[in-house]
Amino acid sequence: MRDGIPRGLPVPRKYQRVIESADRAADRGTERVTLRLCEALQEDLRKNFHEAERKRLTALAAEPSELFSPLAHGGAFDDVADPTLSDAMKKVLAAARSHYEDQLSPKEAVERALSEHAEECLAARRRQIRENLATKIETTEVNKVMSEYGRAASEADLRGEISKLLKDSSAPSEAKRIKITPDEDLRGRRR
């Protein structure tokens, strides 16, 4: 039950730009890092919830649905083995039901569940970035970038990102391939 030599997972391009920004003295403490982080998060969310799932969540948030009724579903344990739902969707539905049972409106319940999922995404990316940087640069430098990442994450308007995700539920799941324009060099930095 072993895994072999641990291999780092490649950091997506949008998160690379977050790192670049968090590492740049001129950007530290500014809104620019937060904006880049929100962009990267939005891409993650779109990958985690494909179009049909986003439409379903939007419909769920719009009006009380039978999905929230405890009689209409077998519960989270039955959902967890449901092959038609993605892993992210299972967790969000379970969390949304919990919030609904705690007397939140359907819209608030769905949005809060999605915000929680967004936080989990940010935490997973934080671990990945930390591991990736620790293999390359001094630990003190890693800690500087990570504290900037933490600041940006705490300032990010997650509810706003969730609203954007649900509002634009028919947008494509996969981000379009990034085109390198003459204004950008191969590292994606603007000249």
Partner: protein, 473 residues
Amino acid sequence: MRISNRSRPNASIIITEGKERVRNRSGRKICRDQIDIQYKHRVIPAFFFRAPTHRQVDLMRVLAGIAHADRRVKRRPSVCWGRDIEIEIPVSDPDFWSSVERKLIGILNILSGDKWLLSFRKARQLIQFPVQRELEFPAQGQPAMAYSNGLDSFASARLVASGVIPLGNQAPQRRNLVLITTGKAFNAQLKQEITDFGYSTRQVSVPFSIRRIGRGFELREPSYRTRALTFQTVAALAASQSQSDIVIIPESGQGSIGPWLTVTGQEAADLRTHPIFTALLSDWLATVLDRPVRFEHPHIWETKGETLARLVSNNIHCGWAETFSCAVQARHQRIKRRRLQCGLCPNCLLRRQSLLAARLSDPDSTYDSHDIYAKDQLLLRKRTAQGLLPLVEFAQIGSTPLISRATDHRIQYFARLVREDTNRRFPHNVRLELDDLERMTNKLAKTHKEELGTFLAQRPKTSLLRQMGEALL
């Protein structure tokens, strides 16, 4: 059609029987039953005290087919973690397997993070096994355990078999065990030992093997998350043949809860030894094996160091040094003498930390010394960071507001699953309220952090391991 390197990996695999010729749809990959998947005819009797039923043989085929597919289709982590895998398997009773396929797909999806599609067709011929000789091992109700020869399985087998720790709500008692192993040593014949501690263990290997290199393929995908399904199902099969309902998961809390709480990047949560996976598997196996199966996690709220300390305090720890925890293959070893553990991968670092916590002597000479990396500082830094970070991350599940909230969300989800499990598939020591689950998880992480801190402080001040660990912790 050319598949782009930027698209999600997908594959359709068909398992063919013998010299069967199938009409091959474009791009469908072939896996030949009894050639690319082989059954170990000399091991089968150790599992089945009587002739195996067709369903049990089908189960082996299904497991082997899934293992083959999981290792054959390479992930593309630069695009996404998941893959789309379709597999067609010949079975004796397609109707039965179709009726249980939904739950199996759900388990596979959650275990591997992929999207699986299974289909079953009627097998043309049934697999013939040699006629069973006499009944060698009468059913004695022996619990089974997947035995990796690592520290966790070694310690757990000793503690459970000696009656030091109870299983479920039963009073502690001595037990004989069936241990499911891998490795050539146990492939040829089953091995039974009466130990010095008054119990017997019977070691048997997984009753099938999959070829690594075959016609037009090489099994190269290293993640192989479905190995947990293979090992735990085979353990359940062994337990059920012995008229027992119990399968023991020997993993410590660091191995069961840790990887699930500290998901990294785009990877799917690692549930290989988590109770969520074993509860779902237990549900599915109850139908397939037609008898209840209970997975027990006796060490889930202990660190590996605490389990080892229990072993030492009961004076049943002799032989621990023969265990092997390292994840790194022998071809990567730098010192060319006897086989050594690398000392730097997460498994080795957890081993070293735990042995120190249990006050067992563990000299550095046991490991493929990292002094030899002196000429290659970049590689040393990389290996140290990759080995250390998983341990550091679990020690820091409450370190920042973001990480702390993400941890809380996961535990809340787990608590909800436990609460809504009406069939009581989760083991008794996990059936807890949210507050207790949070308390136990935090206690586990705190003990782990203390053990890790002690281990790092014990390294020389010049050690990169210490410098990096202390700066990150």
